[in-house]
Symmetry: C2
Subunit: 267 residues, 2 copies
């Protein structure tokens, strides 16, 4: 059994050290293989403008936040998948990092930016790839990526057993739709959402919590409440994601007819 | 308002004339623009083998079933989207026909065959296209096509306002998942399912009814019961499907990043 889960909490906007400390403290005794954190869990979400994001974002290689997380992973022998406001030269991405005791293993830069993110983040420029951790292949998607079925599908085609999904969800549709994402691809998904609000000069955004784990038949393993801090870890059998047979004659990925799908990649 | 709907009933296996008569009778007073019928509503579903299907299938151009439906459409001034066991030379397809008072306007041959269908049907060979009826653009998918997100997506990319979805659903997942299909593409869907069972020498298959209409925000307009005959027509505002804006900055189809989707069309 692979132990996977999430930590749901309410980051305080702009208080990177406080949020880091909260996470490190909450995960200090966790027994797990992979823990998913929300999107942008260190900075908060609702930036005033690009300059505020420039100020709060970090280069992972020079980030004390990241080095603290690496130390935590080394100490606790787990991997983290976390949202991260990633500076890279003159660009800033809404990214997810896969972190282990040896460092940052993988970076995914959100392909589909939501609403005001378009004002201050650069659109992601990393291909959808999967990475193997402890015999499980994981694929990363960030928040609004969920509404584009192409994302989960490509990750499944690249062998993902588990979709790790750092989120700051504000719409109410996602949690239910992730059941479909898992079913149509026969994969697990761990959606780590935040709760609470960002109350900022430009307005207030409230997040929907309800972080969840879904199995490859689209059944909910666990969903937590709309509010409240929670670390939740489940034991899952990754082999279930590799059985893509819906019936004795239907293998979900083999049954695709890609020769009829060419319109998906035209503009 | 466009009047669209479905007729849910329980076809009797192999009794083509009886099933046709049932449909014609049920639709005799319908006031509608487009009515969707289930998959294979004339023949029934659970064929014993290819030879039984050969016997029961028809060439649309020579079919008295089809000519009766054309007459019905002409008389009632509506269009039908209906499942059809379509013979074409030495091939037999699990098809859907779009029929109007002037004849058969469009044929779609199911791309993704389910379970035993693979034993006796030929896999579909028609591209996913849309067709305009009374100012609305409709896309056709048949039953198990629902689980492949590529199908609804391509139809939406080709302008579909309404997915017309003749079905003989046996799994319980589809009705809920169609909410996601509609939401992710901002389209309406009319899923016309059958109820009852085919009790045949090779076994028994029971269908799940619950025919439904879903709106472009993934909300259920109407879902009927698991059993029971029903003709249901709703008035819908097709313009709602053309508004693909999820937020002021997110247009669902424009926000796609097809340059990152090329893996979808590899094998």
């Amino acid at each position: 059994m692979l132990r996977v889960g999430f930590f749901q909490f309410a980051p305080k906007f702009g208080e990177v050290a406080t949020n880091l400390s909260k996470i490190v403290s909450a995960l200090r005794d966790a027994e797990a293989d992979i823990i998913v954190l929300p999107e942008l869990p260190f900075t908060g979400y609702l930036f005033q403008d690009r300059s505020e994001l420039v100020y709060l974002s970090e280069e992972p290689a020079k980030s004390t936040t990241v080095s603290s997380l690496i130390a935590l992973c080394r100490d606790r022998k787990f991997f983290l998948v976390t949202g991260f406001a990633e500076r890279s030269d003159d660009k800033i991405f809404n990214s997810a990092l896969v972190i282990g005791g040896d460092g940052v293993l993988h970076t995914y830069r959100k392909l589909h930016l939501f609403d005001t993110e378009k004002e201050y983040f650069d659109p992601g420029d990393t291909p959808l790839e999967t990475i193997e951790l402890r015999g499980a292949r994981i694929g990363i998607m960030v928040c609004f990526d969920w509404i584009f079925p192409e994302v989960a599908r490509i990750l499944a085609l690249k062998g993902a057993d588990i979709l790790c999904h750092p989120s700051n969800l504000v719409l109410t549709y996602c949690q239910q739709s992730m059941l479909t994402r898992c079913l149509e691809n026969s994969v697990f998904a761990v959606s780590a959402n935040r709760f609470g609000s960002d109350i900022r000069p430009r307005g207030t955004v409230t997040y929907t919590g309800q972080s969840q784990i879904v199995d490859p038949r689209g059944e909910l393993v666990y969903r937590t409440k709309s509010e409240g801090e929670e670390l939740y870890i489940a034991g899952i059998d990754v082999k279930r994601a590799r059985d893509k047979w819906m019936t004795q004659r239907n293998e979900l990925l083999e049954d695709r007819r890609p020769e009829y799908y060419t319109d998906l990649i035209g503009k």
